[in-house]
Amino acid sequence: MRHIISLLMENEAGTLSRIAGLFSARGYNIESLSVAPTEDPTLSRMTIVTSGSDAVIEQINKQLNKLIDVVAVMDLSDGEHLERELMLVKVPAAVAASEAFKRAMAVFQGRFIDTSNSTCTVELTDIGVKLDEFLQAVGRDQILETVRTGASGIARGERILKL
């Protein structure tokens, strides 16, 4: 099953490779991984999207907790949570001007953020599957370039991951 795991870690060189190394050494899946410092600059927050049996997910949580630089781990999938992913898409100006593209932009609430003589770049923020749908709506052969951040996650309501 797909799980989205959130963790706080020391904002230090090497922490990221400890986590990435753990996943590759133990053969766990990483669908996406996103990380950046928090309001407390000594801490970084990471969101990992992974998948596996319940036993594997339990091990992933325990193994992450065991890393000395990991301060706190929360499996967001244990409760209600929100997910968002940012995507930038560059298309030819002609595609951007098409009615179909504009419709897709309206449906998926995209924003135009850059244009040049021949290209146009848009920004979308949503859950991963919605971004997939947008790409499908536009059509793969119409797209020049796509970049996605991977999901960031946060629990709903009072559930908080903080030191």
Binding site: M9, E10, G14, G21, N65, I68
Partner: protein, 581 residues
């Protein structure tokens, strides 16, 4: 500006070792570590043992830790120094041995430029250390080394590496070692949850076929006395894994021997057929439970006591986990058991013991066909046990000899059996024995080895000479990489691919050339006299080259991929039929 009382990073490093009460460190110098060596030279509290290969430095530090409650320390240079040390670090990591490794690194200004003898030490060791550090500021040296010692010894222990660039080891700052260690992300467990303890005890009280299975964790936690008391209080059969031997006295009748691939018949059968299994500081290793699917075919409840939550439910489902430091958790069990005054059902237990003893009878204990013609390796270990009064520190290498030592030397105390269980590192035995001998001066230290393994670190005979280490090397020389040969005989149609050890040296002359005493023993009748002679030489290292039966196999054996009750017994020995469950 230089303040009075400032020390260099190298001096600080050595001061830290002094503060930690480190008496010996094991190492090998090189460019990046030279300031540290210079600082060592200018003091006399920390004594440096110069090994002949960095792998041996780490194994020696490891043996030092395993045979005491101290932390072994190794010091190596950058590049090839640290890469040579990696096998030793991984060996310690797999067996959760506390250790601090200090490595020199190229100057911080040159890191990333493929400098001479540069290697990413932190990167290379990351998967096989509990934690590691690259020092970036001289002011970090003391707090980091303090952290390293704390991390190494606390919680589930393990090796910790501190990598110190050369320029930083020569920068100066003031020395302060008094600040306590705070690591906000690290809180090793203490006591177990009392509710879980009670649940576990209830389960134990209802068991009809209970079994106690303890591993290296009990030894690391110093909980042998508590374990022993608990086993006696409950009267259940008890097994110790390869890593846990000596935690419960092997001479006691409640002890059913070691479980697993080369465990006793009764331990394997009891593990498989029990209805409540309590695992204490053990991790259901594949060499212990065999094929997990087969193990899971039997319905049983599992209680698991461990300091590391990630060891629990990693390979088997656990019904009652108790996370905590085993010494404290076992004490909680003892206190609770005494207060509830409930006892296991005596009638059920008697039926179970009858079954276990039947298995014991069928397995025939650990027996082999002795010979008057050719030396049987098991016989050597039996005599070693007798001659040393069962009270030696025994290190071993990896192979058949290791299994025979584990089977036939009846360990009655913890920290006496020193072997590489998790990684299975050939070449471990002799350097580990050096560490054991240094921290236990005057003690009898034997290294049981094979002619294959000993050649992986035989250069250490030189270190033993320099530092007067009177280790007794018991080499079971079967002219084969015996364990490999055994697998080839059983599973590869007798095709002995590269397992014959051709062109062996004359070990007697070799040992003599290092300045020690060598003995070659060919006849069974000479085994005991040779051992007596060797062990009476308290001041000398004696290398005993026993010419043993090259065809001997280790039994019982649970072949890889098989289940515990599929254990093979020695086909050349009688095995009476008994009723099985």
């Amino acid at each position: 500006m230089e303040l009075a009382g400032e020390l260099t990073g190298a001096e600080i490093t050595v001061r830290c070792l002094q503060e930690e009460g480190v008496e010996y460190i094991f190492g090998y110098p090189g460019g990046a570590a030279l300031h540290i060596y210079d600082a060592l030279f200018r003091q006399d509290k920390v004594k440096h043992i110069l090994v002949r290969h960095e792998q041996a430095a780490v194994h020696a530090a490891d043996g030092y830790s395993r045979s005491s409650e101290k932390i072994g320390v190794a010091l190596v240079t950058s590049g090839p120094g640290i890469t040579n040390a990696v096998t030793g670090i991984a060996t310690a990591y797999m067996d959760s041995i506390p250790m601090v490794v200090i490595s020199g690194q190229v100057p911080s200004t040159m890191i990333g430029e493929d400098a001479f003898q540069e290697v990413d030490a932190v990167g290379i060791t990351r998967p096989c250390v509990k934690h590691n550090f690259l020092i970036k500021d001289v002011r970090d040296i003391a707090p980091t080394i303090k952290k390293a010692f704390y991390l190494a010894r606390s919680g589930r222990p393990g090796p910790v590496l501190v990598d110190i660039p050369k320029d930083i080891s020569f920068q100066k700052t003031t020395f302060n070692y008094s600040d306590p260690v705070v690591i906000r992300s690290y809180n090793p467990p203490g006591e177990g949850d009392m509710n879980q303890v009670r649940k576990a005890i209830q389960l134990l009280m209802t068991a009809k076929r209970p079994m106690m299975y303890s591993g290296g964790g009990v030894i690391l936690s110093g909980a042998s006395a508590e374990l022993t008391e608990l086993v006696r209080l409950l009267g259940f059969p008890c097994t110790n894994t390869l890593m846990g031997l000596g935690a419960y006295p092997a001479t006691d009748k409640l002890f059913v021997g070691m479980p697993g691939m080369h465990g006793t018949y009764e331990a394997c059968m009891a593990m498989q057929n029990c209805d409540v299994l309590i695992a204490i500081g053990a991790r259901f290793d594949d060499r212990v439970v065999g094929k997990v699917e087969h193990f899971n075919q039997v319905q049983r409840k599992i209680i698991h006591l461990d300091i590391d939550p990630s060891s629990i439910a990693k390979r088997v489902k656990v019904d009652v986990p108790v996370v905590g430091d085993l010494k404290r958790v076992l004490n909680q069990f003892l206190v609770e058991l005494r207060s509830i005054k409930q006892k296991p059902n005596a009638a059920d237990l008697a039926v179970w013991w009858k079954q276990v003893n039947d298995w014991r009878f069928k397995g025939g204990g650990l027996k082999y066909n002795n010979s008057t013609e050719i030396i049987k390796p098991q016989y050597v270990i039996e005599k070693l046990y007798e001659v040393t009064g069962g009270d030696a520190f025994v290190t071993s290498d990896v192979g058949q000899h290791q299994m025979w030592a584990a089977q036939y030397y009846k360990f009655i105390k913890p920290r006496r059996w020193i072997n590489s269980g998790g990684l299975g590192t050939m070449g471990f035995g002799l350097p580990a024995a050096m560490g054991v001998q240094l921290i236990n001066p005057g003690a009898t230290v034997a290294c049981v080895t094979g002619e294959g393994s000993i050649q992986m670190n035989i250069q250490e005979l030189s270190t033993c000479k320099q530092f007067h280490l009177p280790i007794k090397v018991v080499s079971l020389n079967n002219r084969y990489l015996g364990m490999v040969r055994q697998w080839q005989e059983f599973f590869h149609g007798n095709r002995y691919a590269e397992s014959y050890m051709d062109a062996l040296p004359d070990f007697v002359k070799l040992t003599e050339s290092y300045g020690h005493i060598g003995m070659r023993i060919d006849k069974p009748s000479d085994v005991e006299p040779a051992l007596r002679e060797a062990f009476s030489r308290k001041k000398d290292l004696v290398f005993m080259d026993f010419q043993t039966d090259p065809t001997e196999n280790v039994f019982p054996m649970v072949p890889g991929g098989k289940g515990l009750s599929e254990v093979m017994l020695d086909p050349n020995m009688p095995h009476p039929e008994v009723e099985d469950l």
